[in-house]
Every structure is written in C-alpha cells, then in structure tokens.
C-alpha cells in the first residue's frame, strides 16, 4: 500500500479514537463540574476541602483556580463561574455590577511578614509602622536603627532591603494594605497608597500570586514580603513577630490567628446578603492575637438563575458543596493552619446558604 494512504488512515484512526475518548469523558458520565476562581489566600485549605469532598460525593468535581481575588470578582461579574473567591468584600461599585451577591466567609487566615536574611531565624520583631516604612521605601537598610532597637539580640546586615509585593490584584494585598493603613498615617494618605487590591507600590519587585511571592522571597537575599501563613509554612520561610495593640510581639500561628478570629468575629457581623465592605479582623484586642488577620469569602449569586445554563442539579450541587465548606470542611482548617470559623459565623453562613434560590425556590430545604 502507498505510504501516503497509510499515513492518512493512521491520522483518521487517531482522530476517531481521540474523539471517542473525549466524547466518553464528557458524555453523561453523571459528573457535575463546579467552577470557581479567585483568591489564592484560602487555596491551600480549599484544595484540601475539595479533595475530601470528592471522596464523599463521587458525582461532583470542583475546579478552583487560584487566580487572585481581583480575577475572582471580575469572573463573578461576568458570570463565567459558579462561585468566586475573594479576600476583599465587594466594593460599592462592584456590588452595582454584581447585585444580589452573597458573602460567605469560608475561612480565616493570617498574613505572615516573611523575610530572607542569612542567619536570622523567625521572630524578628517588627511594628506595623516599621513594616509600612519598609514597603514605602522609607526604611531601606536592614540595620536601620528602628529595626535594631527592637532586636538588640539579632545581628542584622547593612544590606539594602529588597521589597517583594504582589503584581496582580490581590485580596492578600487588600488585607495587608488595610493593616498598613491602620498602622501608618503616611501610608494611609500617601499618593497612590492606602488600602486596595492593587496599589502603586513605591518600591520593590512584583510577583504574581501568593506562591510566587513566597518563591521570590526565598530566592532573593535580604528580601521581605507578605504571604498567607500556609504558604509561608509550606515554603519553610522565616517570618516576623508583629506588635499587636496590646504591645506584645506575636508570631502568626494557628493559635494566634484563632484568638484574633474569636476576638474580632464573634459579634457585629452583617448578614450574607448585606454589605461586608466595613468588616475586617485586623488588630484584634487580645494580648495573644496576631494583628494581620482576615476573612476569605466565597461569593455566589443569591438567585442562581442569574448564571447562564444553570440547572436544578447544578444549583443543588453548589449549595451542598458550600454547606460542606462551612460545616464539615472546617475540620480540615487546623492541619493547614487556618482558623476554624467561630460558631456565630457558621450560623450566619448557614442562613445565607439556605437563602440561595433557583427558579424562586430555595435550593436547600
């Protein structure tokens, strides 16, 4: 036989087989795929939850892409996902574009101020003011008197501080810059500064996502950055003890995060359908609380009909998954260093999830 024909036949055969495999995978295998995207801050925990959930519910697959809070919110507004993740609550203008969005705080994490200085272990003492001055480019050397005064027992190099920050729109940045704004008036009122998911950084190197910031700090000598605690622990990084309002220097740990969550989140929270834009868990008033702590939210539409091609089956799968996240899923939080939700938050969330509707009927009975 002619070689040309052989090749053609081979290509056709491969195409048919590949097509059959694809068709088989996506046919009525009964698997419902839920799509979420957004914050990378809760991803280590969410990833554990999804793996666990898929062993319980074999017919549901959850795909969560940790693309950053900003990307999450814009995907929510564009209605291209079933749920979005964001560490920053919706702003007024975002609420206008995505009306009837429910906020479901799904976990509480803390932001570690990580650094990479030769021979300096975790526990370098820093205040919010010093951190703000470093990220503003006012303190540029590690042996600046403001830092050495607090750490007489540590030998600090005379090298320039390499600041590492996020380059994408990020909820971690939102919580972190919120904290800097409470600590430093020059940060709060500075040109291009203040609180935001992205700001005009006066100094430093930008990296995309929590994991990339951790990696860049680890590979850049004399650097400082900020990442969610789980990333800092996972990447074996050294991080600072930050002064809290009681004047104590506290390392970010599961305990100091949980204490902060209990102190700040146990009362005065809005309902899921209300605005959360004024909620924060910063500077908890407890002697042992870590000061840079925040909620991470899952956001869904109250009326799931708003999302194109929604079905009763999908709606049920979404609500059941969310229900799992705020109840049984919380048992996984401690092992990856997130604080479990306080019981009052779980109550608020339960009411929120029960209020989700499809075709004007509540999805969960």
């Amino acid at each position: 036989m002619n070689t040309k024909y052989t090749i053609v036949i081979a290509i056709v055969a491969i195409a048919i087989i590949a097509g059959a495999i694809v068709a088989y995978t996506y046919s009525d295998s009964g698997i419902i795929v839920l799509n979420g995207t957004g914050a990378s801050f809760p991803y280590p925990l969410l990833d554990e939850m999804i793996k666990d959930y898929e062993t319980i519910k074999h017919n549901v697959q959850v795909d969560y892409n940790p693309s950053g809070s900003g990307a999450g919110v814009s995907a929510l507004i564009d209605k291209i996902v079933d749920f979005a993740g964001s560490d920053a609550p919706l702003s007024t203008s975002e609420t206008e574009k995505a009306p009837n969005t429910l906020h479901i705080p799904e976990t509480i994490g803390s932001i570690a101020i990580v650094y990479n200085i030769a021979d300096v272990p975790s526990g370098l003492k820093l205040t919010g003011q010093i951190v703000a001055d470093i990220f503003q480019g006012k303190i540029t050397k590690w042996n600046d008197s403001a830092i050495t005064k607090l750490n007489p027992e540590v030998t600090l190099p005379s090298d320039t501080i390499n600041v590492i920050h996020r380059s994408d729109s990020s909820g971690t940045t939102f919580i972190f810059t919120g904290y800097l704004s409470t600590s430093s008036t020059s940060w709060k009122n500075g040109e291009g500064l203040g609180q935001g998911k992205a700001i005009s950084w006066p100094t430093g190197i930008g990296a995309q996502g929590n994991a990339a910031v951790a990696q860049t700090v680890n590979t850049t000598k004399n650097s400082i950055g900020y990442v969610e605690l789980a990333y800092a622990i996972d990447a074996k990084m050294t991080y600072a003890a930050i002064q809290n309002p009681s004047g104590n220097y506290i390392l970010p740990t599961l305990e100091s995060t949980t204490v902060a969550a209990q102190a700040r989140a146990s009362s005065g929270l809005p309902a899921g359908s209300e605005s959360w834009s004024n909620v924060n868990l910063l500077n908890a008033n407890d002697a042992n609380a870590y000061p840079i702590v925040g909620f991470s939210y899952i956001m869904v539409y109250k009326e799931l009909d708003d999302i194109p091609e929604m079905t009763q089956e999908r709606a049920t799968a979404i609500c059941e998954f969310l229900w799992y996240v705020i109840h049984d899923g919380q048992n996984l939080a401690k092992q990856v260093n997130y604080a479990p939700l306080p019981s009052n938050v779980v109550e608020i969330n339960s009411a929120t999830i029960k209020s989700i509707t499809f075709n004007n009927q509540p999805v969960l009975k």
């Binding site: 693309s67 950053g68 900003g70 990307a71 919110v73 814009s74 507004i77 564009d78 702003s91 203008s93 975002e94 574009k97 090298d159 320039t160 390499n162 380059s167 994408d168 729109s169 040109e191 291009g192 203040g194 609180q195 935001g196 998911k197 992205a198 700001i199 005009s200 950084w201 006066p202 100094t203 430093g204 190197i205 930008g206 990296a207 995309q208 990696q215 860049t216 590979t219 850049t220 000598k221 004399n222 650097s223």
Partner: protein, 312 residues
C-alpha cells in the same frame, strides 16, 4: 460567466489574503474604541505621564514607564542578540564543516520552539543568578556611580529580562541570517578572494554587505518578538509599577507593556476604567509594532535601495 476551477481558486485566495488585513483592522478598531474612555479622561498624559493608582475613586493610569520599559528591554535584547546571531550565522555558513553546521543549525532552530514560559522558568531559577553574580555585582561595584548601573540588588530587573529576550530572539535572527548568507552567490566570494581579501574581509565587506537587507529584515523580526514577548518578561522583570518603573538603571525592576497586561488584565471588570487602560496599552503596543515594521520597510527600500528583492 462560468465559474471555472481557476476562478474559484482566485476568489478564495483573495478572500484568504484580505482576511489577514481585515483581522488587523478589526483588532485595531476594537482596541481604539475600547481605549476611548481612558484617553478621554487623561488625554496625552495617558501616554506621557508616569502616575499609576488603581485604588477605586482615585484612579490614575499613565503608561510612559511601560512604553519606555518595552523599548529598553527590546534594545538590550538587540544589543546582545544581534552580534551573537550574526556570529552563529557566519560561522555556520562560512566556517563550520558540514558535520558541525547541520546539527548546530537544527539546534538553533530548536531553540525557537521552546515555549517562552520555559525560558521564564529557567530564568527565574537559574539564569537570574548568573546575571547577578557575573554581571550585575561586578558592574554595580565598579561603575555603580553611573545611574545606568546603580543597583537595586535584586536580579529580577530590566537587564535580566533583556538578556533572556536576547536568547529568545537569537534563533529567529540567526536562522534567517544563515539563509541570507547562504544565498550570497559564490562568485562574489571567489571574486573577493581572487583580489587577495582575507576571510574576515570577505565576510564583512562583501558577504554581510551583500546580504544586509535580508539581515536587517531578520533583525526586525527578532525585534518584533522582543517587543511583544510577555510571559518570560513578566516572570523576570520585577513588575514595578508607577513612577518607580521608569527605566533609569539597568538593574532596577521595571515593567513592559506586555507584562503589565499579563499582570493586570485578568483582574479588571468589563467596562471599567482599568480595563479601558489595558486596552489602551494594547493599542499602544500594536501601534509601536506597526511603526517598527513600517519603519523597517522604509529603511529597507530607501536606505538599502531594495527593488524586487535585489540590492542595487
């Protein structure tokens, strides 16, 4: 009128050829329409200002630092990449024995098949430290008093990004230059040798000079890739934002237009001022690429006097 096979072929070929033009026009039009809000708001400052503030209610988006960042990284890429590429091309055609030139040409062409994210990763984990230890540290130590060489200490900077771009454009420039040099008629070489020219003289006075329009075209193709390259640059340039991204020193973090879009576009919502900004950056990038290509064409026809593919 009867539709013969020839006519059908002619019509369909015309449609396919014009669709390339149509795609360019549609892209340009869409980008222009999308960037109207931001240009209306900031006017010429959008192109020539340095401020950047994405915080809601205080938004300012000016893009001069990223335009200059693009030009700086591409310039570095050409400065490093062109001599290397020409060296490779000349060696392969004029000097290397066939047993060496064939495998090396394959390898050079293979380099262009490596996805840019791989160059980015390699740059992030390995290459940036070579740059830091062997180029950045010595240069800043002895020449640090010149602003161009002052240091930010980190090797995620404009120079590292430019150097990785140089590596990425080498295969393009080298392989096309190789073809151009191979096409130089042997009679030219023979004539030059016969009047007593050395190998070096033959290469730079006759061969390169004869092929200069083709080599120039190769360089422009390489420049095109350097200007538009996104992923590897975003991973290595340090992603500075606002006035601090103005490229003053080689060893400071910067930002190019393409890396700016890669970093931020995903996070914007449709119809917002920020999304209009990124579309405006896209328009500027398209415009600069067009200028480069049109400029190259003008240079080729006017300076080199190329007519019908031959140098006069």
């Amino acid at each position: 009128m009867k539709l013969t096979g020839d006519k059908i072929f002619k019509i369909s070929a015309t449609i396919i050829a014009t669709s390339a033009l149509a795609i360019l026009l549609i892209t340009g039009y869409t980008l222009a329409v999308g960037s109207v809000p931001v240009i209306q708001k900031f006017g010429l400052n959008f192109f020539f200002g340095q401020q950047w503030n994405p915080i809601e209610g205080k938004e300012v988006f000016n893009i001069l630092p990223y335009v200059l960042g693009t030009l700086a990284t591409s310039g570095i890429a050409l400065l490093i990449g062109v001599p290397l590429s020409l060296g490779i091309a000349v060696f392969l055609v004029e000097m290397a024995p066939k047993s060496l030139s064939v495998p090396i040409s394959y390898l050079v062409e293979l380099l262009s098949a490596v996805p840019s994210v791989i160059y980015g990763l390699w740059g992030l984990f390995i290459f940036q430290f070579w740059m830091r230890d062997y180029i950045q540290i010595p240069l800043t130590k002895y020449l640090g008093w010149i602003p161009l060489f002052s240091s930010s200490q980190s090797s995620l900077n404009i120079f590292t990004a430019g150097a990785i771009l140089a590596i990425m454009i080498i295969p393009t420039i080298a392989s096309i230059s190789k073809e151009v040099i191979s096409a130089v008629p042997n009679s030219i070489r023979e004539g030059a040798y016969s009047i007593g020219a050395t190998k070096w003289e033959v290469i730079h006075r006759w061969v390169l000079s004869y092929g200069r329009s083709g080599i120039f075209g190769a360089i422009i193709l390489g420049l095109g890739r350097a200007v538009g390259e996104t992923m590897a640059v975003a991973m290595l340039i340090g992603n500075a934002i606002g006035p601090v991204a103005m490229p003053i020193s080689l060893f400071q973090p910067g930002q190019t237009m393409a890396s700016l879009i890669a970093n931020g576009f995903l996070d914007t919502t449709r119809g917002s001022l920020a999304s209009s900004t990124y579309i405006g950056v896209g328009l500027t990038l398209l415009f600069i690429s067009l200028i480069i290509n049109v400029g190259a064409h003008v240079v080729m026809t006017r300076v080199f006097k190329v007519k019908g593919g031959a140098v006069e």
